[in-house]
Symmetry: C2
Subunit: 352 residues, 2 copies
DNA sequence: AGGAGGTGCTCATACGTATGAGCGCTGATG
DNA sequence: CATCAGCGCTCATACGTATGAGCACCTCCT
C-alpha cells in the first residue's frame, strides 16, 4: 500500500489514474457487469492491482445514491430492543431476522436515533418513525416494523409514500393496506377446538383477557367459528365481555357444566387452575385446559398451547421485504403464518 | 399531499419548483445553518409548506455523500449476535450501546452481510470485515468491534486505512495501535488480593484456565504484582502452566498450606469446591475463594468475584467513537474500565 | 450623488459511482 | 477494396445535497 490522499479514502478515479485507464473502466471492472463490460483480462488485472495497492474500497454512500439500493434492511422497534430482548419478546424475531439477513447478504439497521434521545419525547422511550420532518427509515432499502405501534398515522403516511416495509403482527390502518405478517391465531384456535372435539369434548368454555387488540380478536373468532361449525356448546360468561373469571361460572364448571376450557393466556390459566383447585377440581382430570398463547418461558408450565413461530416469522419478514424490493409494484398483502400446537399435560379425552 | 413523480421520492428540486425558489435555497432552509442562511421568515414558510405538501424527506444517501457523516454507528460482531445475546454474552454490551446511541441520536448498523452467507465461509458462521474487497464497515461513520476477533490482519488493515473504530476487549495487534476499551482485570485482580490481605490471608494460591488470551494475562499480572508488593506468599502449582487442578497441590491446600485461593472462572471454582469437599474442607470455613470472572448468571453461586461492567462499557465505547469522529486526528489510545468487586459468601477473615 | 454595507437570494460545483452512447481500431467477410 | 461487426475502451451525465462565491437590489450615510 502506498500514497493515499491525506484523510481521504481513495476513489475509483485514483485507481483509474494508477492503472492508466478511465474511471468508468474501473467501475466496470469492479462492479463487473460481465455482459456489458468488454474489458480484457489483462486490463482487469491492472485495475485489481491498483485497487490492492491503494486499498480502495467502494464508497457505499455514492453507490447507494447511484443504484437505488443499499443492501440495508431497517428494523424499527417502537421501543428499545434490548431490554425486551431479554424478556424474550423481540428476541426470537430478531434471531430470525438476523439469520435470514445474513443468508441473503443484507445488513441490518436498528433505528435507535428515532427515540426520544436528548430532551425529546417521553420517559417511556417510545420511538417515532417521523421525527422533525426526517424519516430515517429510508436510510434502509426497506424496513421491518416490530412491536406495538401506537401511532397508526405514521404507518399510514409511510405506506402512502410508497416506502417498502412489512409489519410484524396485526395492525389495521384505515385507508392503508399495510403488508403484515401475522401469526394465524384464528386457525390455531380453531384447531385447538377441533382437537378437543376429537377427544370427545362437547361443552366448552372460553376465558378471555381484558385487552381488545387485534390478535385477541383473531383468537376469539377462530374459537367461535369452530364451536359453531362443529355443533359444540359454548358456555362462557366471559366470552362476551367479562374481565376476571366469574365465580358463579366457576361453580358451574366445578359442577361439570363444561369439560374443556380455552384460555387466552398462561396468566389466566394459572389463575383458573387455582380457582378450580379451591373447588376440588383438577386439571386435566376433571377439566381439560388449552392456552392460546405461548411465550417461550411458559413451556415449563406444560400447558397444551399454541406456539408462535417467532424466529420463522422473522425470517419470513425478511423474505417478504426482499420480494417487495425486487418488484416495487407488487404490494404484497398480509400473510398468515401457521402456529403449531404443542401438546402438554392439561388436555385429555373426556371421561364420563 | 398531492402529485408526486411516479415511484420517485420528491427531491429538493421538486420542493424548490413548488415554492418558487432555487434548490439551494431549499437546502439552506432545511438544513438551516442559520448563520449563513439569510432567508427571511416568509420564504422559509413557503418552503416548509411545499415540503409538507410533497411529503419531502431528505435522501440520506445523497446527504451522506455530501457531508461525510451518516449518523450511523456500526456494530461488528465476529459471530452472530443474537444466539449469544441469549447467553448474555453480547447482550449487556449491546444494551449499553443501544442506550447511548439513542441518547446521542445515532442509528446502529448490525453487520450481518459480512457473515458466510450464501455458500461462502465455514459452518461456524464467522464474520469477516473485508469480504471480496468490499469493506462494508465504512457504510457507518465508525464502528464498534465486539467479540473475539480471530484475524488480527483485518484489524491491522482497518486501522491502517484510518477507519474510526473501537474494539471492546483487549486485542494486541503488532504495528497497529488500535483503540480498545478494556475491563481493567489487572487492577481488579490486585484489589482482590489486597482485600484478602486485609482479611489476614498471607498464603495464597491461584488457579488458572488453560487459555492464553490477553484478558487472562491481565488477571495474572495483577495477581502476581499484588502478591509481590504486599509481601505475600504464592504457592500455586498451576500458576506456571498446569491445566487442571493438581491433586498433590489440593492435598497441600487441605493440609492448610494456603488460606485463600483466587480462581479464573466459576467453572474452575465449582470444581475446586468439589475437590476440597472430597478432602473434608469447606469454603469459606477452611479456605477463602474469590473468582476473577462473572457472567451475570453466575451471581447465583454467591462467589466473591469481580464484575465486568458490560453495559457501561457499551456506553463508553459509543462515546469514545464519537470523540474520534469529531476529531479524526485524535487517535485515542486504550481505555481501562474499572471492574467493581462484588461481595459473596466465599471469602472470610482468616481463622487461626 | 455616490459609495458602503447589508439582504435575499441564485449559480455553479463537488462528492463518487454507474451506465448509455459512442469512438477509433482491427480483422473478417463479401 | 469496401463494409461491417466486434472489441476495448472513453465521454458525458445523472443521482440529490451542501456550500462558497457572487449578483442584484435596497438602505443608509456622507
Amino acid at each position: 500500500m502506498t500514497a493515499r490522499r491525506r484523510g481521504k479514502a481513495p476513489s475509483q478515479a485514483d485507481v483509474a489514474r494508477l492503472a492508466g485507464v478511465s474511471q468508468s473502466a474501473v467501475s466496470r471492472v469492479i462492479s463487473g457487469n460481465a455482459a456489458t463490460a468488454r474489458i480484457p483480462e489483462e486490463t482487469r488485472q491492472r485495475v485489481f492491482e491498483a485497487v490492492r495497492e491503494l486499498g480502495y474500497v467502494a464508497n457505499p454512500a455514492a453507490r447507494a445514491m447511484r443504484k437505488q439500493r443499499n443492501n440495508l434492511l431497517g428494523v424499527h422497534t417502537f421501543e428499545r430492543v434490548f431490554p425486551h430482548a431479554h424478556e424474550d419478546f423481540y428476541f426470537a424475531f430478531l434471531l430470525g431476522i438476523e439469520e435470514r439477513a445474513e443468508e441473503t447478504g443484507f445488513d441490518l439497521v436498528l433505528f435507535t436515533s428515532t427515540g426520544p434521545g436528548r430532551g425529546g419525547g417521553g420517559e417511556r422511550g417510545e420511538r417515532k418513525i417521523y421525527k422533525d420532518g426526517t424519516n430515517r427509515l429510508n436510510l434502509a432499502d426497506g424496513s421491518i416494523l416490530l412491536g406495538v405501534s401506537t401511532d397508526r398515522g405514521e404507518l399510514a403516511r409511510l405506506w402512502y409514500e410508497g416506502y417498502p416495509f412489512v409489519h410484524i403482527g396485526r395492525r389495521e390502518v384505515p385507508g392503508a393496506e399495510i403488508p403484515q405478517i401475522i401469526p394465524d391465531y384464528r386457525t390455531a384456535s380453531a384447531r385447538i377446538v377441533e382437537r378437543l372435539a376429537e377427544l370427545g369434548h362437547r361443552r366448552l368454555g372460553y376465558v378471555r383477557e381484558w385487552m381488545e387488540m387485534e390478535p385477541y380478536e383473531d383468537r376469539r373468532t377462530g374459537y367461535a367459528e369452530a364451536v359453531g361449525r362443529l355443533g359444540l356448546t359454548d358456555t362462557s360468561p366471559g366470552f362476551h365481555g367479562t374481565h376476571g373469571i366469574e365465580s358463579a361460572w366457576l361453580d358451574e364448571v366445578a359442577r361439570g357444566a363444561v369439560t374443556a376450557i380455552v384460555v387466552e393466556s398462561v396468566r389466566l390459566a394459572e389463575s383458573l387452575r387455582e380457582q378450580l383447585a379451591a373447588r376440588g377440581r383438577k386439571i386435566p382430570d376433571d377439566v381439560s385446559v388449552a392456552v392460546l398463547e405461548a411465550a417461550p418461558a411458559d413451556l415449563s408450565g406444560q400447558w397444551d398451547s399454541l406456539v408462535i413461530p417467532r424466529t420463522e416469522i422473522g425470517r419470513i419478514a425478511v423474505d417478504r421485504l426482499q420480494t417487495m424490493l425486487d418488484d416495487p409494484d407488487q404490494r404484497t398483502g398480509s400473510l398468515f403464518v401457521p402456529c403449531p400446537l404443542i401438546p402438554g399435560t392439561t388436555v385429555t379425552a373426556v371421561r364420563e
